[in-house]
């Protein structure tokens, strides 16, 4: 009986998924893209002063919307809590979930989703006071750690300290602001969390310059957008628009020079921007879709710098997110 119920529920999911096979057509008919984003996360998605959404997750959706409509405004952002994000994608409430979601095995294989790309390589790290003299996570033996309650950060920390034979105590808090207050008042020696989050939280401390993020990264948190796995055309579209952003950076195509680059003689650039060869048709787009995208949001590097890097208050280093030929691991297959 219980199994029958489960089968019925699965059928509900499967049946409702199979109806959505033509995502691109549905989006074009509707006239705008529906994009699920975080309710608020510094640098990733947040409402800016003028009331529009900003952040790297937001710009990824704007890029996809521009590829389809040649207009970065033809997208609706639907803020989702971490618990409702997957249902929203399953039920078809959104076309793409771009919400700082870590690519893991179970999410990919079990939930019926497809992660299209990795747009940000994050990892768990430690924030400490400079005065403590600690320069490496290996010196954190017998330290008191502050972190968020009920997240994988606690488990990652436990793994790391056990693997290195070190002792520690952990204090967890429900809210970020509580951690910052506790850390500021010296209740803990280190604050552990995803490095992008630590960078943002550091700015909330009374004297941000007194604190430093340790070089060690103790977990892998590859963040990227995901879509339903039943619509292969849609998967390819999202995937190759984002690969296009990375390839554009590699080919030095920027928001400023994309117009002149359309006259380039370089065959790789010509393929990217859709001169001489129409690659867009295979994913249901125009040949020169990337020209509009780069004009609207810039290449991957520009998106990164504007939202997380030097162009923002966060000032995150590119690190792993640099291009593969520049010391990082950001790598996109070629347009051929």
């Amino acid at each position: 009986m219980r199994r029958a119920g489960a089968a019925l529920l699965l059928c509900f999911l499967a049946c409702s998924l199979s109806i959505n096979a033509k995502t691109l057509e549905a989006v074009q008919k509707r006239g705008y893209l529906q994009c699920g984003v975080s309710q608020s996360l510094p640098g990733f998605s947040y409402p800016a002063d003028n009331g529009s959404w900003s952040g790297i997750d937001v710009d990824i959706c704007r890029a996809v919307a521009t590829a389809i409509f040649n207009d970065p405004e033809k997208v609706r952002f639907i803020p989702l809590s971490s618990k409702e994000r997957f249902t929203a994608l399953q039920s078809g409430e959104i076309d793409i979930l771009s919400r700082n979601t870590t690519w893991t095995f179970t999410r990919d294989a079990q939930l019926g989703f497809e992660f299209t790309n990795i747009v940000y390589y994050d990892g768990q790290g430690f924030l400490v006071n400079k005065r403590s003299g600690i320069t490496s996570a290996k010196q954190l033996d017998r330290a008191i750690l502050c972190t968020n309650a009920g997240t994988t950060t606690e488990l990652n920390a436990a793994d790391y300290f056990r693997a290195n034979g070190m002792d520690y105590k952990i204090i967890s808090f429900e809210k970020d602001t509580e951690i910052v207050t506790a850390f500021d008042s010296g209740r803990c020696d280190a604050y552990t969390g995803d490095q992008s989050a630590l960078t943002a939280q550091r700015l909330k401390l009374a004297n941000p310059d007194d604190y430093v993020i340790l070089p060690e990264v103790i977990s892998k948190e590859p963040l990227g957008p995901l879509v339903r796995q039943d619509d292969t055309v849609w998967i390819d579209l999202v995937r190759w628009v984002i690969f296009g952003l990375v390839n554009a950076e590699e080919a030095n195509i920027t928001q400023a020079n994309v117009q002149t680059k359309t006259k380039s003689k370089d065959p790789a650039v010509q393929r990217l921007l859709g001169n001489n060869q129409d690659l867009g048709k295979y994913i249901g787009l125009k040949a020169n879709f990337l020209v509009g995208v780069i004009k609207a949001v810039g290449n991957y590097g520009e998106i990164f710098e504007r939202n997380l890097g030097a162009g923002s208050q966060l000032n995150l280093p590119r690190g792993l997110n640099n291009l593969w030929n520049n010391g990082g691991i950001m790598y996109a297959p070629p347009y051929r």
Binding site: I19, Q39, P42, Y46, P47, T87, G92, E93
Partner: protein, 339 residues
């Protein structure tokens, strides 16, 4: 003056100690707060860099004031919300003066319909503003007022149902009330936003705000039912029997004799439910709707304003206090008027 002090603050060693202790605690709290919130505060300028005095940075609240009030509602359309507020105040005043109950109900219904079309648009050349653009204080008021207006009649019907002599009706009412009182509001909202969409066909999308509104209204109705039932029980049976002997029917008895007295008794209880409901609206944040508090939280994650969430929270708390305090004052007035 000294006599008053001696009588009220320094009568006996216990009172004197308490007074001195209270003054000391006030001394610890009040001057630093005033220093932070007023003396050292910054309000000039437009960016975080103008906040250099070390006190509160009201520039953040000033820059985001529009967002806190209207969410993502398009700026050139915000007059529609303001207009609805003005009409709302007028309607409220009219209800206070009106003597006829039917006209009160009609006024409220008319207002709800007008406000909905003002906010959503789609008629008389008003452009459509989808609900996902609604936010801030406006959304808080929409959720709270919908809950308040829907929960009172629903609650009265449920309370009457629970005291009904028809077994089926009584059972249904009891089951409804106990189920909705037995689950936390958070799980109701989760069901509405996470589970329900899975059961609908994928081309059918109920508006998320509508789902949340229905959930909140039914939830509040269950609490309201129990408050009203308390009032109903306080009316002696003799009144019911007297009315019956005069040949009145059930609805006449209830509408003209029992309910007016019962509700008068439970005005404080009803207001309590309303105020609790108003504050519970902040829970819609967990399903991705930005009420006043949610908007403040979201705005303070802008990297430009990362360090100023406290100012935002103070502002939100002040906003909520104004409305809750007003409601409790209205309650006192109603009690005096009908008491």
């Amino acid at each position: 003056m000294i006599k008053w002090l001696k009588k009220n603050l320094f009568a006996g060693w216990f009172n004197s100690t308490l007074t001195i202790l209270s003054i000391y605690i006030l001394y610890l709290i009040v001057p630093p707060t005033i220093k932070w919130a007023i003396i050292d505060a910054d309000i000039q300028g437009t960016t975080a860099s103008s906040c250099s005095s070390g006190g509160a940075c009201w520039v953040f609240v000033k820059m985001r004031f529009n967002q806190f009030m209207y969410g993502f509602y398009p700026e050139e359309q915000q007059w529609r919300i303001n207009l609805s507020y003005i009409i709302g105040i007028g309607v409220l005043a009219a209800i206070f003066w009106a003597r006829n109950n039917t006209s009160k109900v009609l006024l409220i219904l008319g207002y709800v319909i007008t406000a909905f079309y003002l906010y959503h648009g789609g008629i008389l050349g008003l452009s459509i503003v989808p609900t996902y653009n609604w936010g801030g204080l406006h959304l808080t008021l929409v959720v709270a007022i919908t809950g308040i207006i829907a929960s009172l009649p629903l609650g009265i019907l449920l309370a009457l149902g629970r005291r009904s002599k028809l077994p089926a009706l009584r059972l249904c009412s009891v089951a409804f009330i106990e189920v909705w009182r037995g689950v936390p509001l958070i799980s109701v909202l989760f069901m509405a936003s996470v589970m329900l969409p899975l059961f609908f066909p994928s081309d059918l999308h109920f508006d998320k705000l509508l789902r949340a509104l229905i959930g909140i209204a039914l939830f509040a109705a269950a609490y309201m039912a129990e408050v009203v039932r308390g009032g109903l029980q306080a009316i002696p049976n003799g009144q019911f029997e007297a009315a019956k002997s005069l040949g009145m029917r059930y609805w006449q008895i209830m509408g003209l004799i029992v309910l007016p007295q019962a509700i008068k008794i439970v005005i404080p209880g009803i207001m309590n439910v309303f105020i609790a409901l108003f504050k519970d609206t902040t829970l819609v944040l967990i399903i991705g709707l930005f009420d006043l508090l949610g908007m403040v939280q979201a705005a303070s994650t802008d990297p430009k304003w990362l360090a100023y969430s406290v100012e935002g929270y103070v502002f939100a708390a002040f906003g909520f206090w104004i409305f809750c305090f007003t409601m409790s004052r209205i309650s006192v007035r109603l009690e005096k008027k009908h008491g």
